[in-house]
Symmetry: C2
Subunit: 214 residues, 2 copies
């Protein structure tokens, strides 16, 4: 298909498709002449991926490119690649490295195996420090509770990773981290509603305007 069909079928404006080509997010089509190129289903999928990463996950074009590059590269080491992908995902954190005291204490309290250089350690440190600075420190008790359930969620994630094909594993792992995060965030917000309606006995039935009461 030609670039105009690609734009039309993907719902992305033509000028933007060209922009993604320029920026290297979208690989060039197979040129059939000096002013013509063919694009395939792969390009369509790639555009969906780009839009999901930019619009839903909220990545910048530059970070989207690094994530896509990681997906494209055949990995020598899945864990290294995954670490790099995680570092490209928000919340962004500088490399400055200190002790990460809060994060290390937390992970050790949880008893998890971890690599202190993994970017998620710095992300955790930053998030815990932010919570503290705002007057809402996360106490160990609460953290242990979170950890237990988050680990269960991680087990579900891992169970879905294809074991045999390493290329597919990287893509799955990266997307699983990036794309599932908003799902979990939305679910948590909905769960707040459900839990409080049940636990606080606070009426919060279906549609407002409706007679939704208990």
């Amino acid at each position: 298909m030609r670039i105009s069909s690609l734009a039309e079928r993907s719902g992305v404006p033509l000028a933007t498709v060209k922009y993604y080509l320029r920026e290297g997010l979208l690989p060039p089509g197979r040129a059939t002449s000096a002013t013509q190129a063919q694009y395939g289903e792969g390009h369509l999928h790639r555009l969906a991926l780009i839009r999901a990463l930019t619009d839903v996950v909220g990545l910048s074009v530059a970070r989207t490119r690094t994530v896509l590059d990681l997906i494209d590269s055949s990995p020598d080491d899945l864990f290294t690649t995954l670490g790099q992908a995680v570092a490209a995902l928000p919340p962004y954190v500088e490399e400055h490295e200190e002790g990460h005291p809060r994060a290390r204490a937390a992970i050790e309290a949880l008893g998890w195996v971890y690599d202190p250089h993994y970017p998620a350690v710095a992300q955790l440190e930053r998030a815990l420090a932010a919570a503290e600075s705002v007057g809402m420190p996360i106490e160990e008790q609460r953290l242990l509770g979170y950890g237990e359930h988050v680990r269960a969620i991680a087990q579900i994630d891992i169970a879905g990773v294809p074991r045999d094909d390493p290329g597919a594993a990287v893509e799955h792992a990266v997307l699983g981290t990036a794309i599932v995060e908003p799902v979990l965030a939305a679910l948590r917000r909905l769960a707040h509603q459900d839990v409080s309606s049940v636990e606080l006995g606070h009426r919060q039935g279906p549609p407002s305007g409706d007679d939704a009461g208990r």
Copy 2:
């Protein structure tokens, strides 16, 4: 304290403090003369809050302002206020939306009480649609698993909300949603490492530089 001390103690550049004042994120100090104003500890706390919301949560200045306004307003209805706050948090979603078929099916499968107009429903719809469009649909089985553990997390959250003071409850709920999310995201990424090191037998012990072989 005067504005220069405020800037110094908070670590925020003076020009930026003035910018936040202009944008209405930071309330003006108590003017003692035409060219002098006093700022207090409250302003210091507010600056920390602004930086956490912009830098860690990644909100724009405009959205930070709406969140802060919600925290400041004494709420007629906690749930309405919380809904508005959630709408100001990423992932952002347009209001046009109709059936939310994926989201409604999901929440009904989970058996949760929900209000279909709650913004998190649209957020969930969008996140599920994005996952699908990228070739990684979240099947019901997996969703039920996520839901179970996310609900447990939500129970921990709700348990920490102050019951008596409604003003504090709004602030706690908003911050709890916004600030805790990065904590959970980082924990999940770390849990991936732990789970895979245990389940896949993939050794991922502490420092790299170590003999990190098989």
